[in-house]
């Protein structure tokens, strides 16, 4: 906050309250003066791609700085490490996205564990965990999916067995992003084999501290060739009752709060920068970047921007992108909605499919040069797009596959019969 000149209209949008407008101006000034220096190494495409300690520590320092400046977790009460502001995280997110700063690495903590703890935790749990989540002092991972419980999440079989005052946990979790760096895991366990839903309980368990002592982490290799996600084996990890989040048998409800926020439909706004890669806004993976790409790509000897079918395809994607932004605004105005959940529940589905389609079209724009891996020095745009396309399937599958998203929308919003 050094009073540097504001780069854009300091008044902000007409919808801002006085507090929001003042907060927006503070965000803008801070971001203008405190953009992190580019690292001397390559940054990953997104938080779940973090592969090295070097990458993690760079991003952790950035989240910490943004937190200290009040841009991360500002809507949380001060006693939990926040700033106690009303509806200002959204403003900070808009400003961080516009500034094109790097993403925040503690994504599971911010988007999933934080809201679950805030809504279901004891006072002691909230004071213990929330500040570390917001400041990225402690990194979190999520233990939900299992080999036999993917779309049918309530079928988890990892078992927490009561033994006096302790719980002994045994089981097998998969697709665990960030587990190799995580201090803590949110863990969905079975505590009663007699009830599918009521037999589930939700725990907060140590991962780094228990590694090799009841917890084993094994890397899984993704179709991109990248690491970053893992399987986690529990061979008798012991925790006590203080590890329970919500009561015994209430795990499904806590998991639903978690998933609602993961899909961007929860009441707490998740701190987010909009996901620029390494602070380079030109490296956006959205459709807007396709116009420049098409202008500077030669496709089989012809400029891609001159190809009529590609022009139509790019414009379609840009319309969808604008539609998402307009829907986000409309979702804040009750009079322009028929049903309160309807727009919120669409966001994960639509964004993940838009990014997937944008990456696919980017490869089409690049023509035969899209065959080049980023390891090849002549790959255009750093080989980013083919990799982004491969990677995009992570988002259409994770957080409930898009098939499950369509089931949820059909059942909750349109009242159709449950497909399970």
């Amino acid at each position: 906050m050094d009073g540097s000149t504001l780069p854009r209209d300091p008044a902000g949008p007409p919808g801002d309250s006085g507090d929001q407008a003042a907060f927006r101006a503070r965000c803008r000034a801070w971001l203008a003066a405190n953009r992190p220096a580019k690292p001397g190494f390559e940054l990953p495409l997104g938080p779940i791609e973090i592969a090295t300690t070097e990458q993690l520590e760079y991003l952790r320092a950035w989240q910490r700085a943004a937190y200290d400046a009040g841009l991360v977790g500002c809507d949380y009460p001060a006693i939990y490490g926040g700033r106690g502001l009303a509806d200002c995280q959204r403003v900070a997110n808009e400003e961080m996205a516009a500034a094109g700063v790097p993403f925040l690495p503690n994504i599971v903590g911010l988007g999933m564990a934080g809201p679950a703890i805030y809504h279901h935790g004891t006072e002691a749990q909230k004071r213990r965990y929330l500040p570390g989540i917001l400041a990225a002092d402690e990194i979190w991972c999520q233990g939900f999916s299992e080999p036999g419980a993917g779309s049918d999440l309530a079928n988890v079989q990892t078992f927490a067995e009561r033994d006096g005052g302790r719980w002994i946990i045994r089981g097998h979790k998969v697709w665990t992003s960030l587990a190799q760096f995580a201090d803590w895991m949110i863990l969905l366990c079975r505590t009663d084999r007699g009830h599918k839903y009521r037999g589930l309980s939700y725990f907060i368990v140590p991962i780094a501290a228990a590694n090799g002592r009841g917890v084993e982490i094994r890397p899984l290799i993704k179709m991109t060739g990248g690491t970053g996600f893992n399987e986690v084996l529990f061979n008798g990890l012991e925790v006590d009752d203080s590890a329970l989040l919500g009561g015994v048998g209430q795990g499904w409800g806590v998991a639903m709060t978690t998933l609602l926020h993961e899909r961007g439909a929860g009441p707490l706004v998740t701190p987010s920068t909009g996901g620029g890669i390494g602070g380079d806004p030109a490296a956006s993976l959205g459709p807007s970047g396709l116009v420049d790409l098409a202008r500077c790509s030669s496709r089989y000897g012809r400029r891609a921007a001159d190809e009529p079918v590609l022009r139509d395809t790019i414009v379609r994607l840009m319309i969808r992108e604008r539609g998402l932004a307009a829907t986000k605004r409309r979702a804040g105005h009750e009079a322009l909605q028929d049903q309160p959940e309807r727009l919120q529940l669409q966001s994960k589905l639509l964004l993940s499919e838009l990014l997937q389609d944008a990456a696919r079209v980017a490869c089409e724009i690049q023509g035969v040069t899209s065959t080049l891996h980023r390891a090849d020095a002549s790959a255009p745009a750093g080989g980013r797009w083919p990799l982004a396309y491969l990677n995009s399937y992570g988002f259409t599958i994770a957080a409930g596959t898009n098939e499950i998203q369509r089931n949820i929308l059909g059942e909750r919003v349109l009242g159709l019969a449950k497909s399970k």
Binding site: D9, G12, P13, P14, G15, E94, A97, A98, G100, G274, G276, P281, S284, G286, S288, G289, A294, R295, C296, S297, S298, R303, A305, D306, R311, D312, R316, M318, I319, R322, G323, A325, A326, T327, K328, R329, R330, G332, H333, A335, L336, R342, L343, Q346, L349, P380, A381, G382, R384, R406, N407, L409, G410, V413, L414, G415, L416, A417, K418, S419
Partner: protein, 404 residues
């Protein structure tokens, strides 16, 4: 992404759709549901399968709409209107579409925005007539359906302060319901816009045989129609073309709003069928092959609806963005209308393919609206010019393409 985020940051959260607009929309929905339930609509417009049919609509309901002042919603206050933002008119038109209402309300609203862009006294006078309940329509197209400024088959001969119109206008919407037309004609000064009463001597309406049962469309012949030069609302060189360009975003948004409203009916009606129709001992909606397309209908409608209100806001508040926003809205709404129409018939199965079913009424209205003032392909081609630039507009710069 950055461009979009910055653009978005300038819009208020309610997109200019305030309390009064919400009340108007709710009132319209209640009135249309009460007065034109879909079974009554079917009895009214589908009584004959003969494509050469009389124009049928509920004049008593139109009188009520006029009485409520709904033709005046978008007319400026200084012209005896309510001067409400385009988003308010859009809300009303959404309900017109949802009811599949045969009515000149949309055509009149389109004419309203052209007149608002004209400066001549005659434009203001016609706005006052519209505010008082006159139904109006635009006569802009040539026989190829082009409304581009120079494309007209109507000639205006000016002698002193008298004007004579000769020729034909094509694809005039709701011509048999309108009492007055805004006619584009080629004048010595360039393209002019003229106010012509439908019952003036020399005006002949030749109805088209059309698929849509909920509106009428016509060729309008001008056989030596005599006007005073004062009925010219845009006479100065370039004035007519400028007015049409200024109004076009509003026209696109209004047609898109009709489609969004109709698509929502298609979604709700088809979802209701999927909740109640049982096959294989299950409601149809249990099956994901039915459930998922219904969800896709919903997400397409919501995209279009968001873009329609976004464009309505831009029209009133950010004119430089209005064209792109409106074209995006029309493209999105056309795609949603097309998809929802197809699925509404398909998911109803055999009954959806019959004349007695109601879904074909909406199907046909949607196909008609898709084609008006440029379908999705047309809009995107224009957007590509705006966003990507002309074809052949530059050389490839390989140094940029190789940059990491």
């Amino acid at each position: 992404m950055k461009d979009v985020d910055q653009r978005g940051a300038s819009r208020p959260e309610d997109l200019g759709f305030g309390e009064e607009a919400a009340l108007l929309k709710r009132t319209a929905r209640r009135l249309f549901e009460r007065r034109v339930p879909t079974d009554a609509l079917h009895r009214m417009v589908a009584s004959t399968i003969d494509p050469i049919r009389a124009c049928v609509w509920d004049r008593a309901l139109w009188d009520e709409v006029v009485e409520l002042g709904w033709t005046a919603v978008g007319v400026p206050e200084e012209r005896e209107g309510f001067g409400m933002p385009l988003s308010a008119v859009v809300g009303l038109v959404e309900e017109v579409g949802r009811a599949c209402l045969p009515s000149p309300l949309v055509a009149t609203a389109c004419a309203t925005y052209v007149l608002r862009a004209c400066e001549a006294a005659a434009a203001g006078e016609l706005l006052e007539r519209i505010a008082a309940g006159a139904a109006a329509s635009l006569a802009l197209c040539d026989r190829r359906g082009s409304w581009a400024s120079g494309d007209t088959e109507v000639e205006a001969r000016v002698e002193g302060d008298r004007v004579t119109l000769r020729g034909r206008a094509y694809f005039v919407q709701d011509a048999q319901k309108a009492e007055v037309l805004v006619v584009k004609a080629r004048a010595p000064e360039g393209v002019g816009l003229f106010v012509v009463d439908v019952d003036a001597a020399g005006v002949r309406v030749h109805p088209d045989a059309i698929l849509d049962l909920t509106r009428d469309q016509a060729q309008v012949e001008f056989d030596g129609v005599e006007l005073s030069l004062e009925s010219c609302v845009a006479a100065a060189a370039g004035e007519g073309a400028r007015a049409l360009r200024a109004a076009e975003p509003a026209i696109l948004v209004l047609i898109a709003a009709d489609m969004v409203g109709a698509a929502e009916w298609q979604l709700q009606t088809t979802a209701e069928y999927a909740r109640t129709r049982v096959q294989f001992d299950r409601p149809l909606g249990f099956f994901q092959a039915v459930k998922h397309p219904l969800v896709d209908m919903m997400t397409m409608i919501d995209e279009a609806r968001s873009l329609v209100y976004d464009a309505a806001w831009a029209f009133d508040n950010a004119p430089a963005e209005a064209e792109a926003c409106a074209r995006a809205a029309k493209s999105s709404a056309s795609d949603a209308a097309s998809y929802c129409s197809g699925r509404s018939v398909q998911l109803h199965g055999g009954i959806g393919f019959t004349w007695e079913s109601f879904v074909h009424l909406y199907f046909k209205r949607q196909k008609h609206n898709e084609a008006l003032f440029g379908d999705g392909v047309y809009q995107r081609e224009r957007l590509a010019e705006l966003w990507i630039g002309p074809i052949g507009g530059g050389d490839v710069d390989p140094s940029r393409s190789a940059a990491p």
